[in-house]
Symmetry: C2
Subunit: 319 residues, 2 copies
């Protein structure tokens, strides 16, 4: 495990990332809801990354990775595989630097997300909807074009970029007691854990994971990375298996995982749409679903709740 | 016409309203969208009244009306007829003063709105879905309870309250060239026109009206209040006939009306949900529909766009 911890960014790299992305990324707002606070008994501070450029937190990590490249590296372009938000983020980030982005997109990805990647000017490469096909196609693009891989989550600069969100949130909402993020590949959860604990070591950290893609929860419980989970969840943004460095960070920072059913997540999504009046994607609602499921862990506490993205097909809503 | 102008509030009353509602109402944010600006060629400043207390601008007028009452008047309670947002706003406003609110609700009103009125603690009275039945039932409640009528739009204090929105917007987005609001009964459009022109007489004022409820456009064209229109539009918040004082204000302030089809409005609603990632109700999208329909009137200009509300039934979306 220790070799993975060594590839994680430190707080200096997260501060450097914040400086690097500042000209390009948005400072996203924090919203509150009287009704949802009353329902949960907690003080919830919703960090609105669906209002980030590209409609998801992913722009932070992709932008940091793109601008951390040397000119020579950048000239070869970048490549990634992504079911949506990271691909879009990398395409937008590459455009800010005027370089080429290749995005490997599995069949069946959310249409709105693929359309956004196209609009952002990336070159799209389609593949079968599984991890092996994604990685193989990305490797093939690397070979044939010389482009550098920007992995969606198992990448130090990407993790550092995602961590900038926590620096921002802790400035906007001081004296938080706890913080919860969705967990897919773990780029967000790991970056946030490193940044948040560097600022305030007493913060309780939580992750919300779909029950149908609970590889991170199993991996923490079994103290080894479980790769046998076949994702079965409506949360299209959280189907990736947790990365090794990401898992190491979750363990090091004692992030507690809460698994939620798709039904709980969809109900929480409706609550966010109705009360906060924000269009968030289903993956983003796992965090509120976790709080509603286990109110005793959050009641009476000031909780930062990371809304990870807002890219949805309006013609294909999950209710 | 002149007697109606005399019942309109002046800017002093709108300033008094702003002071009166400040402890209770929210200062709503202004959002922008790079994509929608590019699409329309204009600089659009979306004033987010769907994030107002109660999910609509209506709280401003209702709150001002409730707090403008003497203690003796307030003790008798208030009553109104409303298909939704004004009723909810009056119920919430009455609760801030600890007085009773009666709300006459026509059959067929949006379920989410009626549920909100109930939650806010108002006494609900149901009636047939037409203007005559609404007014008759409200009069009956007045007689039997002594409650005071707070009309949804043909009321000087209500108009003054809605006008506070323009004061706020012109502070948040300085140097606007134009401003557009939806037009139903005209409470919003008239209050905004009075306040905006008092601040900046050169501002171009527009109103967006559903083609299926275009009584205000016809009334302005024919120089008399047209009451023969039978509303037929998906915009449930804009089915009321324009009020006499409201029409007088629109005329006095040379508000230009643009009528939009329901299809144009629904397309604009999807654009707002997708790009601004805000849950706005269909009536709120008429304003963007008008800008998209007539880009030459707005291109190159800084335009304030009033998003009037965000109360929707997620199970009954118009696409």
């Amino acid at each position: 495990m220790s070799e993975w911890v060594n590839m994680l960014p430190g707080i200096e790299q997260i501060h450097a990332a914040a400086e690097r992305i500042a000209p390009h990324a948005r400072v996203t707002p924090v919203l509150r809801s009287v009704v949802i606070d009353a329902l949960t008994g907690a003080e919830l501070y919703f960090k609105c990354e669906h209002l980030q450029r590209g409609g998801a937190f992913k722009f932070r990590g992709a932008c940091n990775a793109v601008w951390a490249l040397s000119d020579e590296q950048a000239a070869r372009g970048v490549v990634t595989h992504s079911s949506g938000n990271h691909g879009n983020a990398l395409a937008l980030a590459a455009a800010t630097r005027g370089i080429v982005a290749h995005v490997v997109v599995p069949e069946g990805a959310v249409r709105a997300k693929v359309a956004a990647i196209e609009r952002a000017g990336a070159i799209i490469h389609r593949c079968a909807p599984n991890q092996a096909a994604r990685e193989a196609m990305a490797a093939e693009v690397q070979r044939s074009t010389g482009a550098l891989l920007v992995h969606p989550y198992a990448d130090s600069q990407v993790i550092a970029g995602q961590g900038t969100l926590a620096l921002e949130l802790l400035q906007q909402a001081s004296e938080l007691d706890a913080l919860i993020t969705p967990v897919g590949g773990g780029g967000l959860a790991s970056g946030v854990a490193i940044a948040a604990h560097a600022q305030w070591p007493g913060l309780a950290l939580f992750g919300a994971e779909p029950a149908g893609a609970d590889d991170a929860a199993r991996s923490l419980a079994q103290a080894t990375r479980v790769t046998s989970v076949v994702p079965d969840t409506v949360c299209d943004g959280l189907r990736a298996l947790i990365g090794e460095p990401n898992l190491a960070a979750l363990r090091a920072h004692r992030v507690e995982l809460i698994t939620v059913s798709d039904a709980e997540t969809i109900a929480a999504m409706q609550l966010i749409w109705t009360e906060l009046k924000q269009v968030v994607e289903v993956s983003s609602a796992t965090v509120l679903a976790a709080i509603v499921q286990q109110p005793e862990r959050f009641a009476g506490r000031r909780v930062g709740v990371v809304i990870s993205g807002g890219n949805v097909d309006l013609a294909d809503l999950p209710w």
